[in-house]
Subunit: 305 residues, 2 copies
């Protein structure tokens, strides 16, 4: 089944279009958990990476019957060096084992054989001798499109071969996203041009729910732009950051969905994984409670389930 | 000394503005080297990563008295999973030990605490308990600017703190780079807008040779655009891909340099590291010979040394 079809069916099965952003900033991990690993392995990157793994595994256990997907943010793993990248791999593997759809948020981008290498790393394989090995093997990867179609096509090809998908940055959720993305190119904006280009080059990859293998990152913090893009990019699945901590509401995020209530998934990172800081309870229960609250809020706003 | 001042002085000391792109695609490694590691460790990612390390260390040994800098391409390391990222770290460490300036080519990009995490990973530190640890600690990182100044400022701040630098994608060397980058925004192109924005937000970071901490990637394959940007972005150090294998000539690459013959470095990857495939000799001698040939060609074209 096509990658985004699988995602849509997981969303429908859970009646919950939420993806949990795994952003394991050390400040988001309960202090006693980090201290335990430091006591064993010293004040090292290895200790921090083990703590990150324990934290993520706990979140996955607490959330895997409530949310359809997780989005590990590569930066927080890379911040712990090679041990951190091992923790990323272990986190992705554990999430898949628990039935979750895994979107690696790496915003990768390059051209030619280099783009192929990124695509192979996250969505495909590498050949060592006669063995075909899967380095990270996630379901989808975020990518940036500034290099043009040369930079995206290798990801589309790899996605088609191994049934994966990508999300390209179109209109991001941050305050300065407009500095370049909102610039007018003739009668359009740059983000529209990027969205159009992504839809054009992925036209041959549409699955049964009408969505291609190239999705788009569109922030909930810009509801007008969201509405415009939802109407324009009919075959583009949306990954929606900006809900919660960044200020986007459920009603704003709901604009990302098509008339059938399909075609988008809304991210929350700190709001869920660091919920324990506000609630004061254990981090697993706090995350689960917030995920259920967000699910109900999105359900109401979308009016589907 | 400011990061790009150090780079300029290394270039002047070697009389060679070349950076060697370490793109360890397994196809670029002599087959018997890969076979040796496979015989020891099986057809595994670990075997491939060890082979990559041996290959890179050999290249660094052969080139460290001829070139001032190397540019490991992260994608080819990530393609080998966490073991590959360990090989990236080991390659960067070995290159620094041999006195080389290390540019990690990761084209990273994100916002807020996530951009800070990338900046900490490559250009700064992470705190684990009371220890301040340096995860990758390279001299410079390539970044993408599509997210606007929010996405670049955390890298500038980290660079200022640890004396590092970044190169932002401005006008890339690939055939489709114009699809978005050449779009006209009023009287300018998008790549000009990106270049202007980068120069503006790095204005307070100028070193003694007149260059700021935010350089630009500008391809040798677009010589007119190069000339225009060199004239416009007076305080922007250029990293120049596209020479050699991609079709850019030394005369075209020479347009990246200012009137004093400063302010740029020209990349060659396959041309140097896979020179053994053409010459038939051992890979180290072949790489060194090609690096010397390229040096002489650039010297002539720039007319400085």
């Amino acid at each position: 089944m096509m990658s985004f079809d699988r995602l849509q069916e997981k969303i429908d099965a859970m009646q919950n279009p939420t993806v949990v952003g795994l952003d394991p900033d050390l400040g988001n991990i309960p202090p006693q958990m980090l201290e335990k690993h430091v006591a064993e392995k010293g004040e090292t990157l290895e200790a921090a990476a083990s703590a990150v793994c324990e934290f993520n595994f706990g979140l996955i256990d607490a959330l895997c019957d409530v949310v359809p997907a997780v989005k590990p943010q590569s930066a927080f793993f890379e911040l712990l060096g090679p041990s951190g990248v091992l923790a990323l791999k272990q986190t992705c593997d554990y999430a898949k084992e628990k039935g979750l759809y895994v979107i690696c948020d790496g915003k990768r981008n390059d051209i030619d054989s280099t783009a192929q290498a990124y695509a192979g790393a996250y969505l495909g394989t590498v050949k060592v001798g006669s063995a075909e090995l899967f380095p990270f093997d996630v379901d989808a990867l975020t990518v940036s499109a500034y290099l043009g179609s040369d930079g995206i096509k290798p990801f589309i090809d790899m996605s088609a071969k191994y049934d994966k998908a990508v999300f390209a940055l179109v209109k991001t959720s941050n305050p300065s996203s407009g500095e370049l993305q909102d610039k007018r190119i003739g009668s359009q904006t740059l983000y529209t041009a990027v969205g159009d280009l992504m839809q054009e080059i992925s036209a041959g990859t549409i699955g049964k729910y009408g969505y291609s293998r190239v999705g788009a990152v569109v922030g909930a913090t810009y509801p007008e732009e969201m509405e415009f893009l939802r109407d324009r990019l009919r075959s583009t699945f949306f990954l929606v950051p900006g809900y919660g901590a960044q200020g986007g509401s459920a009603a704003e995020a709901a604009k990302a969905f098509d008339k059938n209530g399909c075609g988008a998934i809304v991210n929350s990172s700190r709001g869920i994984i660091a919920a324990w800081k506000k609630s004061g309870g254990d981090y697993q229960s706090a995350a689960r409670e917030e995920a259920l609250r967000m699910r109900d809020e999105l359900r109401n706003a979308i009016g589907k389930y």
